[in-house]
Subunit: 218 residues, 2 copies
């Protein structure tokens, strides 16, 4: 049975791998895990030994089939628990990540399958990220950033890229949620900020923000 730490490393390697198609290296893992590169080296040697990752000295790592399976299972659990925390316990979407970070390590297949049923087989977590099914399949629908939406077009918010509490609180304070319909009023060429309309209220949004909001066309 894997330790929590090992599970967290596999998850970190998986998620770095998604955004960085080049090799997942020691420094990136260290940053993600908030630890030192030397600690990472120790751990990846152990994980390679156990055949959860491919590893060649100085060349970075990638997940094996086994390793990927486990990473996705942890992500599935993490996201289901986040749905529970928001939908059932009424946590705000910026408060759930830390707790899910712990809950994702509870070991019980029966628990997660009953939880999924209790939640009515949700397809997305509270930040719009897809929930893998019990076989590890993830529905990756392609993500359009709000920043690339044409002027005078309507769109619906379907996810956030950055789930930091500060970003989510900013969205809350502007009444932007998953499902909100936004209209792009104008774009400022100088700094790529944009003026958008939400609930008949116009808001000015920096490029920093609009790059972190995923939308779909209405």
């Amino acid at each position: 049975m894997l330790s929590q730490t090992e599970e967290n490393y596999l998850k970190a390697i998986y998620s770095i791998g998604l955004s960085k198609p080049k090799s997942v290296n020691t420094t990136l893992i260290a940053k993600k895990m908030e630890t030192k590169p030397s600690s990472v080296t120790d751990m990846i040697q152990k994980l390679a030994e156990k055949e959860f990752i491919h590893y060649e000295k100085y060349k970075g790592v990638s997940l094996t089939q086994q390793g990927k399976k486990i990473a996705v299972e942890i992500i599935r659990k993490h996201r289901l628990w986040e749905v529970f925390l928001v939908n059932k316990l009424h946590f705000n979407w910026d408060e759930v990540h830390e707790i899910a970070e712990q809950l994702e390590h509870i070991k019980s297949d029966a628990l997660i399958s009953k939880l999924e049923e209790f939640l009515d087989f949700p397809k997305h977590d509270p930040h719009g990220d897809p929930i893998p099914d019990e076989n590890g399949n993830i529905a990756h629908h392609k993500k359009i950033m709000l920043s690339s939406v044409e002027t005078n077009t309507h769109c619906i918010v379907i996810g956030v890229k950055d789930s930091s509490s500060s970003f989510l609180k900013f969205l809350d304070s502007n009444n932007i949620q998953l499902g909100s319909t936004l209209k792009v009023i104008s774009k400022e060429e100088f700094d790529n900020s944009m003026l958008i309309e939400n609930n008949n209220i116009s808001i000015s949004i920096s490029n920093q923000i609009s790059k972190n909001l995923f939308v779909k066309n209405l």
Copy 2:
């Protein structure tokens, strides 16, 4: 912050202390924790150092105020999670202990208070054990064993002493739940077995069983 292991030790010391009013000694803790006495000695020295227990070499241990507070908090979390698993996820009462053993270590005060509210402030876990309130107060109502109920008397099942899966499954197979009304038909002096009636069906019950069922008078 306490480790899971430290929390489990404090809980074990607390629960041994309830049944054994004499000193809680190394061997008993080792048995409960399924570990060796030498490991227990190491741990109790650490817990004494941190002032969670009183400890005198060769004389056993007892919880300090701080230690007791933590033990009760863990028990509160354990029992609330058990209620969640049975009432919301529809686990059977014999399946929840192991999972709650993990869930009880999740660190989040907000989580447990929202969970408690979600469950509608339950007073008892699925085995009839009282759930401590957020201040650590436990309602210990005195427990009558079925074995000591008079012949021809009705009573209601309010708890089980032994929550082992095998005992709970036995009760299931005889349709005995918390809240079941039982009538004592007769007692056998020879082996202290008794004949009882449940849902108009009579069942013969060994003393082993009747000593592990808590009831209240109807």
